[in-house]
Amino acid sequence: MADRQTVSAKKTHYVHTPDEKSKLDMLHFMKLTREIEDRIERKLYRQGRIVGGVYVGRGQEAISVGTAIHMEKDDVVAPSHRDMGVFLMRGITARRIIAQYMGRKTGLTRGRDGNMHMGDMNYNVIAFVSHLGDNVPVAAGAALAFKQRGEQRVALCYNGEGATSRGDWHEGINFASIHKLPVVFFINNNAYAYSTPMELQMAVADVAMRAPGYGIPGEVVDGNDILAVYDSAKRAIDRARSGAGPSIVEYKTFRMTGHSAHDDAGYVPPELFEEWKQKDPIVRLEQAMLEDGTVTQARLDAMQRECALMIDDAVDWAEKQPYPAGEDVTRDVYFEG
């Protein structure tokens, strides 16, 4: 239902607004996210150069980028499968990501797993767990460690609205709320969990309505407005870091693709795609920056070319990388000291 994805009050004033550099950074990373996912889904996958499935977050880039920009070096993040922007913002290179999708030895999992099933603790990115919602108790556990050690670190955790129906989600948030852990739970509410629409996923309009049941704040935000994402994420992260406990921040957005590259999403009414195309988060930020004079059209074009070149380079590099050696298959299964 389209009306469920609307955010009632359009905010015009924010507590936190990004400076010019942050805006340019966010625009760059949203564009880079779009570019790498477009390349993977629309070219490499169709050309048969990708091993396994492809899940993208087209139209949802503002959420991963507008939240992860607030992360400090030692913070940890447990992304879900439509949060490519998080990986890029943490400094994981496009080269390694493409190598991962191509099943190469220099990918994040050394060719042992595919697509978004990746993480790198050198960058404090916890590997995505296929069982949706499983990352909630994991992130809560990381936050418990920070609290017990008296560290000023936070954990960020991302899930779609479908994952909120899972028991792990409930158990993890309940635990985090009781112990007032420094963790923030972001919800990418993109209206469909595979083919299940919101009204068959939950009996409420907003996931955030569950927050009072855990005694924590819950906020509903326009997830396609990166300035709103930036502001809400900053407040929730600051709150967690101050020791006041977790929050749920729900971003209303829309999945502008099928569940994965093989899914044509014929079950989604076409007019919803048309409606949400008008709310593209990248175009919205570009227009705002053009209007306030932060960028020129020439600058935007240059940024776009820069992203395309980075991905060209990543694809060229990844394709030259070897596949993993067969004899390595038993390595890294058990800890070998």
Binding site: S165, D168, W169, H170, N174, I178, K180, A203, R210, G215
Partner: protein
Amino acid sequence: MNPSTSDAYSLSVPAGLTLDRTGFLELYYFMALNRKLEERLGHLYRQGKVVGGLYSSLGQEACSVGSAYALERGDFLAPMIRNLGALMVRGVKPVDVMAQYCARAIGPTRGKDLNVHFGWVDRGLIAPISVVGALIPVMAGIALEMKMKSKPNVALTYIGDGGMSTTDFHEGMNFAGVHRLPFILIVENNGYAYSTPTSLQANVTDLVTRAPGYGAYGESVDGNNVLAVLDAVRRGRARCLAGEGPVMIEARTFRRKGHAEHDDAGYVPRALVAEWEKKDPLDAYRRYLLANHTVDSEQDIGEIDAKIAVILEDAANEALAAPFPDPSIARENVYG
């Protein structure tokens, strides 16, 4: 006025509650039966007659009896470990329970399982599942059947404050909410999940604040007031039948004994137990009946008490005279 009298816990009667004299007396009968049966089981436990653990619902009898009494023919109920009173209301006999606790061949599981781990599907009773919370999706499934077949019935089960932290609670309630199922969940907030106080179980004091997040109607009642529980469940049942979706009723009460008979509950502050002893649901209800002349006299209550004593004496004799199961039946009823 005597201060101790004015301070005494007294039951308030819900406005609009209709109950005839028989109903008032039956509520007393079932609560007293629940209490006395558990006391008798306590004796048998200490005599070494009970096999396995013994779980008491001392102080929570109003939750079990008031909720089960609100149900109608065709409704389904699944008890938890502290809902012996609900079983009594639904027609289970004390001899069944004693034989089950003592693992005798005449018990509902023929001596194969213990305590209240038995069900009677043809009487609308689903066996409790030891894994706390698991009954919620099971009963939501039964409610789904009722909805799909347009039956004028509801499914009801119980959860404790501890069980609300489980996966199954969340998934089952969410499913019931999405499909607007005729499902009633009684949240028995009795202060402790084994030794874990509610303050370490949830970040909220009112567990019913979780109801709106599932699109469920939620209400909190005095769980020691059998009339309040009865009234809330009756109204909840009406909502379910009107297609308004699931209902969550938080009954505030207190577990006055340990988790089980072997547990002395030394972790519970004595003052807390003493405070709740003053709110004993059976005593309060007896006082209410006498003060409001709802029943003729103490004679009525005395007759019920005497009847219960006879029933329990006969039940104990019958159960203990029954044999243990023959080993040859061990493999029967394992598969359908």
